[in-house]
Symmetry: C2
Subunit: 284 residues, 2 copies
Amino acid sequence: MFDEIAILAPGLLGASVARAARHYGAAQRTTLWARRPEVRLQLQGQAWCDRVADTPAAAVQSAQLVIICAPVDQIVPLVQQIAPALPPGALVTDVGSVKGEISRLSHVALAPRHAFVGSHPMAGSEKTGWEHGRADLFKGRTTFVTPLPETDPAAAARVAAFWTALESDVATVEPDAHDEIVAHISHLPQVLASTLCASLAKREVRWRNHAGGGLRDTTRIAGSDPKLWKTILAQNRDEVLRAVRAYQEELHGLERALANRDWFEVQAILERGRAYRDQFRPIP
Amino acid sequence: MFDEIAILAPGLLGASVARAARHYGAAQRTTLWARRPEVRLQLQGQAWCDRVADTPAAAVQSAQLVIICAPVDQIVPLVQQIAPALPPGALVTDVGSVKGEISRLSHVALAPRHAFVGSHPMAGSEKTGWEHGRADLFKGRTTFVTPLPETDPAAAARVAAFWTALESDVATVEPDAHDEIVAHISHLPQVLASTLCASLAKREVRWRNHAGGGLRDTTRIAGSDPKLWKTILAQNRDEVLRAVRAYQEELHGLERALANRDWFEVQAILERGRAYRDQFRPIP
């Protein structure tokens, strides 16, 4: 599919892309660049890494597809940095959790010579770090591909085909639509898990020793990296605020029903929640 | 340990108690009673069930320990119903998620001839039904044992020893203290998972097809039985309201920080959440 792909700043997602590209034959060669020299040394020993470059520009010099896996606030600076070094026809994508601003600024940085097409695989783990990468991380999971209206459709199609080759289910939406969706189905759950833990931390912390499966599952993602998530929430602030406020109304409705001993309404809210949850599609 | 135990209204928990009692040698014989005749027929074929009784009174007639596994609103009526049929020295416990009212009314129904000692194993699943029972369901999980100040300490110790024999970690607390704890670590997470789904159900429901592991885990327990949970929330209304209101303050704090672009405060809340979550004890 691609002769060579370059993966910049690989963590869990970047290492998984490299492993999956190898496993599914989506790339002949993989070149990686990591910010920290000790990580670059470690990557040299990995079977799924053909070449390690010392700079982002050196990494992309013969790549047909560049996948930037840095935190969301470092994606645009990397795009600007590699722009002069990209070979003719090279495509650039990323795996960031927010797409509006990144897509617009990256487009400006690369056009008209190169195309930027944002990506966001809905896969991951509270375990970050390239050591946890897995070739099957994207299998059966949605990857959003987010071209702007002005993006070359052929470029968007090639990026989508790459994720499809990794057995991911591609959903193509505009960047702002993406940001509204993930504010609800990803950023809001993160906010709830983190604030639930932050709230419980103010009571007797030893209570957590009695946690059953419910509290454990509901709060698993509260173990995620706070700095990374602060950056995601900052980039998607407006949509996250809207989602949080809509949620607060729902919670307030339940609080009011409890306060009024309106058990019919309490059960109705629980029923609506279950009806929604029961229709999640199975994952492989 | 016990020659004979009787398990009334077995679902997931009751069937798991029967299997575990057999597996760990905590009871020589198990007698079960289920409300529905077709369930009684099915139970007769199970290796971990020695006898099936047609009525609660018949089930308890030679039991040393009776474990009532009915929904919380049906526990006290069952205690009152079996009281005249209990043999001398028999103990009665339950597995209900709320303990204050149940413990007080059951104590009154049985004293002074018999002792009621409430139990609440922090184990379960959104999958209810006796078919899902497992001998290792309680292993390494907390079981609350909740004697009243007036409960015979020897009775409380025997009930605690029973759960310890099933490899559960017993925590002995007064019923009202229990209800405060579970309002926070069990009922509040249920409220958040259900209201998150109820809130998302008001937006584009197809978004859920893109759900990653975060939304899936955070909302798993929203699949639980709404009728059962309405009853639990009704019995623990005051404590749940307090926990919900404390949580609303925390969430409001994050909303305010987002609105003010106070990223230092946003990160601080996420850090507090992670610090709390990271100290959950591992489960076997």
